[in-house]
């Protein structure tokens, strides 16, 4: 969903030329920068950190880095769909918080499997609330999810009265801490989420609809696409992802409500923007969001290792976001 260059075959008689004869020529540099710039930056930072710190390029550190960023990764991947469809989901932090609480509560009072499930389902329901609110009342998704975010977080705080709900049953902790071989479940789920959503965007009918809705809602409607339904679906997916992330982290620490998730929405949007997904909708990719997540993670992790103070890290993150968005807008303008 990017500006693609095609052979100009106007010379001679274009109409008689077979369409199979179309050759691609060099795409523009701005296009390449947007599409692969983030990959270059990630690789460059990776190499630099590997050289700068002996502790960076170790299996433990890298696995740890992935594990710590699985939740934000899952949320950002799903959030990419919301942004492509032309929306924002600021409630993911609150959904994350509330889902963890409910999962823990149900695990304590009913059963562990039901607890894990209920947190994820709740995420989906809250996403549905967001989507319906925004589409039916025709409020901007930015404001709608800002409002629900306050409400959801309020409910969470009321339920816990400020104290996290600990779960004593050790089976509750398996979801967040167990795994296959070296990979913990959260990391596996992050990878699976990214792959599934990216394939859906590339090859799924839903992907086509999401791009069309974000690119030109009116044209999509005139083509028989249920514009509101598609938007709602992206919010449900985002809600499920936030719920899943909340449950995973609650499981990891065997308690619900210990992390309010306030920083999650903005970090997720930062990762999406770093990945070159258009904030105006209609263009973007999940794999680049994954790189955005990794970039932010490496800045924090790697610069900690080489003891750069965290405020410098934030300045760097901010600068990178500006660069990414600028590259993106240059690539789309000319």
């Amino acid at each position: 969903m990017s500006v693609q260059a095609t052979e100009h075959h106007g010379r001679g008689d274009a109409s008689t030329r077979a369409p199979e004869g179309v050759r691609r020529t060099r795409p523009g540099s701005a296009y390449l920068a947007r599409e692969y710039g983030i990959a270059l930056v990630v690789v460059a930072l990776f190499v630099t950190l590997s050289i700068a710190s002996p502790n960076f390029l170790t299996t433990d550190n890298l696995l740890n880095l992935l594990r710590q960023n699985a939740a934000i990764g899952i949320i950002a991947c799903a959030g990419t769909l919301v942004v492509i469809a032309g929306g924002f989901d600021l409630s993911v932090g609150a959904v994350y918080f509330l889902s963890g609480i409910v999962a823990a509560w149900v695990a304590v009072h009913v059963s562990v499997p039901l607890g894990l499930l209920s947190g994820v389902v709740l995420g989906g329901v809250l996403g549905l609330v967001n989507g319906e609110l925004a589409t039916r009342l025709k409020i901007s998704t930015f404001l709608a999810t800002l409002a629900t975010s306050l409400a959801f977080a309020g409910v969470g705080a009321a339920l816990t009265k400020g104290f996290a709900i600990s779960v004593a049953d050790p089976s509750f902790a398996k979801f967040g801490n167990g795994g296959l071989g070296n990979l913990t479940y959260p990391v596996i789920i992050f990878v699976v989420t990214a792959v599934v959503l990216q394939v859906l965007l590339w090859r799924g009918v839903a992907g086509r609809y999401i791009f069309a809705v974000g690119g030109n809602a009116e044209a999509a409607r005139n083509s028989g696409v249920r514009v509101d339904t598609i938007r709602v679906v992206t919010f449900v997916v985002s809600g499920i992802a936030a719920g899943l992330a909340g449950v995973l982290d609650a499981s990891t620490v065997s308690s619900g409500g210990s992390d309010t998730g306030v920083s999650l929405p903005l970090t997720a949007i930062a990762a999406v923007a770093l990945g070159g997904t258009s904030i105006y909708g209609g263009a973007g990719a999940v794999w680049r969001t994954v790189l955005g997540v990794l970039l932010l993670a490496m800045i924090a992790n790697g610069l900690d290792l080489v003891s750069v103070a965290s405020y410098y890290q934030d300045i760097l993150k901010g600068a990178l976001i500006v660069v990414a968005v600028a590259v993106n807008s240059l690539a789309t303008s000319r």
Partner: protein, 518 residues
């Protein structure tokens, strides 16, 4: 009229997109006080030349001189400061702002930091008088039809009092009488010393107005010379590289027992549609004529279900469309609409041609293009490529992004989107807007062919000649009502009288000129 001073000069100007030539080594000299026409097939590079002159696109190499000074403008604003402005082919207005605010956008009247609405309004009234385009200054642009939007663009350009105005297909969606008003404005501007660069597919408009005509083909300059030395045929040959006729194809008869496919009864929608009834039989092409604002577009939108109606029914093959229909149900019943504004209502500009063409056809569990929610990309690419080739769309590459195509080629993609599957009812709102002579002919042939296969076609066009040549019957609208129906043998004058709401037999208003395109 002209003087010897070159107002604008292009020297070996080249523009490539990602290595592909859009304009190559073009040198041109435009005299002050003249109308200089640019003609060429779709994708020839006309708009790119216009945009480079007006600073909207920057040339890769070469020089552009204004009054002898080098100006390779980096922005439209910079070009404007040198007295150059552009009416772009793809209308570039702010939908949420009013007409008057759009006209003076970026050139507001102000005292210090305070805007003076009164002065803007007064100036606007003067513009309206000068141009003869009567527009309500307070209407939001998004509520205007495309013809009125085009008028806003024109007023904006005139209001800048620029010495050079590039007009990229300014009359593509105006009716004949409105085009005529613009022609008067153009003549008047040129007489006052302005240089007009006119891009148009209407060759007789070009021959009538232009002092000089430049023909471009595949980004290169073919010829440039006085318009008086050219005829439509010489221009067509120069543009296409071979002779071609602009004649209309033979109309096929509707089968005697053909059933009624589309029936519309008493359709009402506030002031726009007042009790409209019509029917179209299988294989029949019903033309719809009328002035801008007569309800032509509103009629198509109401049938398709884009706008909600206050009353009336739409029946397809004897079965009513749902009470509260929408495009989705209409499409399900085999109705497709080609909207008048491709950029706003028709195409997802940032998407590929293939994604646009197949968008309405992805439903159902086991479709040929999509099955169980997944795309069958290879099949899609192949089928779309075939259709693009058939319509001689350039580039005929299904993965080409629509935004990078020329205006005429975008229009053809929109047409391809309607024909990807043979529809039962085809609603066409200005189908050949902005396409060149060859493409226009192939679009006409396709309309004929699709009708012969039993589709009911509703054809709206501000080009009356086109409506009369293609349709079996012509429905004439006047202020939202059916003013009458004309047989295809009717003359343009007869149709125009109905369109103006004149009682039959009252002569005296003529179309002035007919339009033919390249």
């Amino acid at each position: 009229m002209g003087t010897d001073t070159a107002r604008i000069e292009l020297r070996e100007v080249t523009k490539r997109y990602a290595g592909n030539v859009a304009v190559e080594g073009v040198s041109l000299s435009l005299a002050a006080g003249t109308v200089h026409a640019l003609v060429g097939a779709n994708g020839a590079g006309k708009s790119t030349i216009g945009k480079m002159i007006a600073g909207a696109v920057r040339a890769d190499s070469g020089e552009i001189l204004v009054n002898g000074e080098t100006l390779n403008a980096r922005s439209p604003r910079e070009a404007l400061s040198h007295g150059v402005t552009l009416i772009s082919q793809e209308l570039a207005l702010v939908p949420e702002l009013s007409v008057v605010d759009n006209v003076y956008l970026g050139a507001e009247f102000r005292r210090g930091y305070v805007l003076s609405t009164r002065r803007a309004r007064r100036a606007f009234q003067e513009l309206v008088v000068q141009s003869g385009f009567d527009l309500d200054p307070d209407t939001k642009v998004k509520d205007l039809g495309i013809a009125d939007q085009q008028k806003v663009e024109i007023l904006r350009a005139i209001s800048r009092r620029a010495g050079v105005i590039v007009m990229d297909e300014p009359t593509s969606s105006l009716t004949a009488d409105e085009s005529e008003r613009l022609h008067d404005v153009i003549r008047q501007l040129a007489a006052n010393g302005a240089t007009i660069v006119l891009v148009s597919h209407f060759l007789n408009e070009v021959l009538m107005l232009a002092d000089t005509v430049t023909v471009v083909r595949n980004g290169e300059l073919v010829s440039t010379g006085p318009a008086s030395a050219e005829t439509e045929n010489t221009l067509i040959t120069a543009m296409l590289g071979h002779a071609a006729s602009a004649d209309y194809a033979e109309r096929h008869p509707v089968a005697a027992g053909a059933p009624t496919v589309l029936e519309v009864k008493n359709l009402r929608r506030n002031e726009a549609l007042r009790d409209i009834s019509l029917h179209i039989r299988a294989g029949e092409i019903l033309g719809v004529a009328g002035l801008v604002g007569s309800g032509r577009t509103e009629l198509a939108r109401a049938i398709f279900g884009v706008d909600e109606v206050d009353g009336g029914t739409v029946t397809i093959d004897g079965v009513r469309l749902a009470k509260k229909p929408g495009p989705r149900t209409a499409i399900e019943r085999g109705v497709v609409m080609l909207p008048e504004n491709r950029k706003l209502e028709g195409l997802v500009m940032g998407e590929s041609a293939a994604a646009n063409v197949t968008l309405p056809y992805l439903r159902g569990r086991r479709g040929p293009i999509a099955s169980m929610g997944w795309m069958r990309t290879r099949r899609e690419q192949r089928q779309v490529a075939e259709l693009l080739g058939e319509l001689s769309i350039k580039p005929a590459d299904p993965s080409a992004v629509v935004a990078t195509m020329s205006g005429g080629n975008q229009q053809k993609v929109l047409f391809a989107k309607c024909l990807f599957r043979p529809p039962r009812v085809l609603l066409l709102d200005e189908p050949s807007r902005g396409v060149d002579v060859g493409a226009r002919k192939s679009i006409h042939e396709l309309i004929n062919r699709i009708a012969r296969q039993g589709t009911a076609v509703l054809l709206i066009s501000s080009d009356l000649e086109e409506v009369l040549a293609l349709s079996h019957r012509v429905l004439v609208l006047h202020r939202g009502s059916v003013a009458g129906e004309a047989p295809s043998s009717a003359s343009m004058d007869e149709v125009m009288e109905l369109a103006f709401g004149l009682p039959n037999g009252n002569r005296g208003i003529s179309l002035g000129h007919t339009r033919s395109r390249a």
